[in-house]
């Protein structure tokens, strides 16, 4: 279980990106975090693994207070939290295998990782994961030779090989075309189900969120303004999160989208 209690972040510029957020995510639940740009979505998930240091509040993962950890403790805790990024954030000049294996760095000594002497069990797991995401035939390609969708699949494999309890996903589809976006979101939600992972998915595409997550949380100006099931996301709720706009079209989109899910499974 991941609990955020009164989580707040004020940047040096004086901007309050997060204003006391309380959120509990039970094991195995995937939540979609929606909200306008600058609402603090990215800050929120980065506060969970302390890529951004929260200024107030606590983050508790299965009983451990992450905000109190020393730097070596934090490294151990980060192993339990996979992360998937908007621009994939693969190391361009490393091969796919090396990128996936970078997910095991927290479990490995420096020299072992420096000379790429990975344990065979890790390599087996990497091949299994790459096969699962459909890339096991190109392990020695360099990351910058891949298409966007392929890069994000490697990103997913890198997060999962950490054997995480939670994955933090920051706009996984923002740089992808609509079809690839759905394939990636479907892959993520299936994998979370298979492995009983909880996940926070930052996503700006409301329709896509409604399609693939079981719970939606709305963030507006650093505060939680919505928390409910995808079908509770009415035009009123969207107005509360994003401000005044004609929301009917967006919701229509969702219906259409759900009809199409079957076709795309092939």
């Amino acid at each position: 279980m991941l609990e955020l209690k009164n989580l707040g972040k004020r940047y040096k510029t004086g901007d309050d990106a997060l204003k006391g957020v309380n959120l509990t995510i039970p094991n195995g639940q995937v939540i979609g975090l929606i909200g306008p740009s600058g609402a603090g979505k990215s800050t929120l998930i980065r506060c969970v693994n302390r890529l951004v240091e929260p200024t107030t509040g606590t983050v508790i993962l299965n009983g451990t207070d992450i905000t109190k950890l020393s730097s070596s403790g934090l490294r151990k805790a980060r192993r339990e939290m996979g992360m998937i990024f908007q621009e994939y954030a693969l190391v361009d000049r490393l091969t796919i295998m090396e990128n996936v294996m970078s997910g095991r760095l927290g479990y490995m000594g420096f020299w072992k990782s420096f000379f790429r002497k990975y344990p065979q069990s890790d390599i087996d797991e990497a091949f299994r994961l790459l096969e699962r995401v459909g890339l096991d035939h190109m392990v020695d390609k360099r990351a910058d030779e891949l298409s966007g969708g392929q890069k994000q699949r490697v990103g997913i494999a890198r997060a999962l090989i950490q054997q995480p309890k939670v994955i933090l996903i920051d706009e996984p589809t923002a740089s992808l075309d609509p079809k690839t976006s759905r394939q990636i979101m479907r892959l993520i939600s299936e994998l979370c189900k298979e492995r009983q992972l909880s996940a926070i998915v930052n996503i700006h595409d409301v329709a896509l969120a409604q399609m693939f997550v079981e719970r939606i949380v709305g963030l507006q100006d650093g505060e939680l303004v919505f928390d409910g099931a995808p079908d509770e996301l009415t035009p009123e709720a969207l107005t509360k999160i994003y401000g005044e706009e004609d929301w009917e079209a967006t919701i229509d989109d969702v219906d259409e989208g759900e009809e199409n899910v079957g076709d795309q499974n092939t």
């Binding site: 091969t95 295998m97 090396e98 990975y118 390599i123 087996d124 990497a126 091949f127 020695d140």
Partner: protein, 263 residues
């Protein structure tokens, strides 16, 4: 599924090449290493002097040879200013000639040939020849640095001219402009920031070079520096080095400032 192993793909795929290259490199380093004949006792004795030199930075002697130092620095600055200005003025037409998209082939090869010679010879070698021809003094230094400034600016400017945006160049040409108008309206605006940046950078290089020309009698502070080392007057040498570093730092600060404004 049987377990698949993985090894990092090697940088060079072909094994003969890979090991051949490694062997060649190893051979070279062994050969190079054995051609060094270091007199370690002499080096050991020198450590003392090295320490004196480092210590002299805490107590540099500006006064004893101040007239020599100040005259030398002054001369270095003057050589820098004049050679940079003249060098840039002469480099511009040469750069136009060395840009493959502007110049006809014979002129292009001629200009490129001149640039190659100007860049290949080290300033000191040019300075030796100039001193032999023009006699001792700052004029030889001025001619030397002008020569290498021309090579430097012309080469980099020509590359920039070759990389100008084609649509802009074509747009101006399609108005029916003459060649000079075309240079003035299509080429010049595109390469101006680069030219200014290069010129400022060249001032920096010229000052650093002008501080060694004195070693071969071509003017500047180098002569004083040379004497200071010859007589083991490390505190005077330290003073000169400190002044050079300070001026280079000021120049670097200025160039950062100007470059930020140009862009």
């Amino acid at each position: 599924m049987s377990s698949r192993t993985w090894k990092r793909p090697p940088l060079i795929k072909d094994t003969t090449w890979r090991y051949g290259l490694l062997a060649l490199m190893a051979l070279y380093f062994v050969a190079a290493f054995f051609s060094y004949d270091v007199n370690w006792s002499r080096v050991y004795e020198g450590l003392d002097r090295g320490w004196t030199f480092i210590k002299s930075f805490t107590n540099p002697d500006f006064t004893t040879r101040w007239t020599d130092i100040s005259e030398g620095i002054w001369e270095s600055i003057i050589i820098t200013v004049t050679s940079t200005v003249v060098g840039i003025i002469l480099a511009i037409p040469l750069a136009l000639g060395a840009a493959s998209n502007l110049a006809p082939k014979p002129i292009y090869y001629l200009a490129r040939g001149f640039i190659a010679v100007a860049r290949a010879l080290h300033e000191i070698i040019v300075a030796i020849l100039m001193v032999a021809i023009f006699g001792f003094g700052p004029l030889a230094g001025f001619i030397t640095l002008t020569f290498s400034t021309i090579g430097f600016i012309a080469k980099l400017l020509a590359e920039d001219i070759e990389n100008i945006s084609k649509p802009q160049a074509e747009a101006v040409k399609s108005t029916g402009s003459g060649w000079w108008q075309w240079i003035n309206y299509a080429v010049q605006p595109q390469v101006m920031p680069r030219l200014i940046g290069l010129s400022i950078y060249r001032i920096d290089i010229n000052f650093r070079s002008s501080s060694i020309l004195g070693l071969v009698g071509a003017g500047g502070v180098g002569a004083t520096l040379n004497t200071a080392f010859d007589r083991y007057e490390f505190d005077t040498a330290a003073a000169i080095i400190i002044i050079i570093i300070a001026i280079v730092m000021v120049l670097e600060y200025l160039s950062g400032f100007i470059r930020a404004r140009v862009q």
